[in-house]
């Protein structure tokens, strides 16, 4: 059996992250599905893995569909009736690399303030 390869994306959400992460995740999946279409969505094996800090989250995608997921994030402009925007900041094969990138980015931002 061939193991499925994944890619992880670090994404910034333009609004404050809601307390109810499950509801947020469900709504986001609905929006992603409306971009992908029902026939294509299942191939992505999308899953929000972590909410490292602030309004950032890490989402998993299959290697074949991660480019489409980046495009979908550019096109999603509403989430649960509210205006929303998602910015894909980085992609990596491991969650650890994304967390390191995020903490470096946050340190740099603190340094410039």
């Amino acid at each position: 059996m061939i193991r499925e390869k994944h890619r992880y994306l670090l994404v910034e959400y333009n609004n404050e992250m809601p307390q109810d992460r499950t509801a947020f995740s469900k709504t986001l999946h609905k929006e992603i599905m409306s971009c992908f279409g029902q026939l294509h969505y299942f191939k992505g094996s999308f899953r929000i893995m972590e909410f490292p800090s602030g309004n950032f989250f890490i989402i998993r995608s299959s290697l074949n569909e991660y480019e489409n997921l980046i495009r979908a994030f550019a096109l999603i402009k509403r989430l649960g009736g509210d205006d929303a925007a998602f910015y894909t900041l980085r992609s990596s094969g491991t969650i650890k690399a994304l967390k390191q990138y995020l903490s470096k980015m946050q340190k740099d931002a603190e340094g410039t303030e």
């Binding site: 910034e12 333009n14 480019e67 980046i70 495009r71 994030f73 550019a74 096109l75 402009k77 205006d83 925007a85 910015y87 894909t88 900041l89 980085r90 992609s91 980015m105 931002a109 410039t112």
Partner: protein
């Protein structure tokens, strides 16, 4: 590789945000470079961006030294594109129409943009991919711009060049 983007004049964002999105600089059309509406009148457009759908006015602007042209609705005007390519004009492909629309309208915009890109690539034009965002909400990271360009039919190399070297060349010299 350094990446650049062009947004509309009213788009407000911080330098920190621009850095997070992966851009070396986000230029503002109207502030950093002039942008002229060719549908209103055909004026001199030296070193500026000509924008519109009126082909004869656009041709006049290209001949008067426009650095780049942006066609409304991605309408293919063969003569205009020929003259623009001869004059070394950059063809701007803005994503704002695709990003801010929805449903059939978005589909139609995607179709038009991909047809335009296919024609321009065939003619060896210099193509730049920009967000032309009017607000922070419509802005994209460099990764998103690359992927949107690839979705329209550009190769990885064309997409990356289109948001780095070619965009920068509009502001050089």
């Amino acid at each position: 590789m350094a990446y650049y983007d062009i947004v509309s004049e009213g788009c407000d964002f911080s330098e920190d945000f621009q850095k997070r999105l992966g851009f070396s600089k986000v230029f503002s059309a109207g502030k950093d470079i002039g942008i002229y509406d060719a549908d209103k009148k055909a004026g001199d457009c030296d070193g500026c961006i000509a924008y519109g759908s009126n082909a004869s006015n656009m041709i006049h602007m290209v001949r008067s030294g426009a650095k780049a042209i942006m066609l409304k609705d991605f309408k293919i005007e063969k003569k205009l594109l020929e003259i623009a390519i001869e004059n070394g004009c950059v063809l701007l492909v803005p994503f704002n129409g695709i990003i801010s629309s929805y449903g059939f309208e978005r589909s139609r915009n995607l179709f038009k943009a991909s047809k335009f890109l296919s024609y321009a690539t065939k003619k060896d034009a210099k193509i730049s991919f920009i967000s032309m965002a009017s607000s922070k909400m419509d802005m994209c990271s460099y990764m998103q711009l690359v992927e949107l360009a690839k979705m329209l039919g550009a190769s990885e190399e064309e997409a990356r060049d289109g948001i780095s070297k070619t965009t920068k060349s509009v502001f050089d010299g």
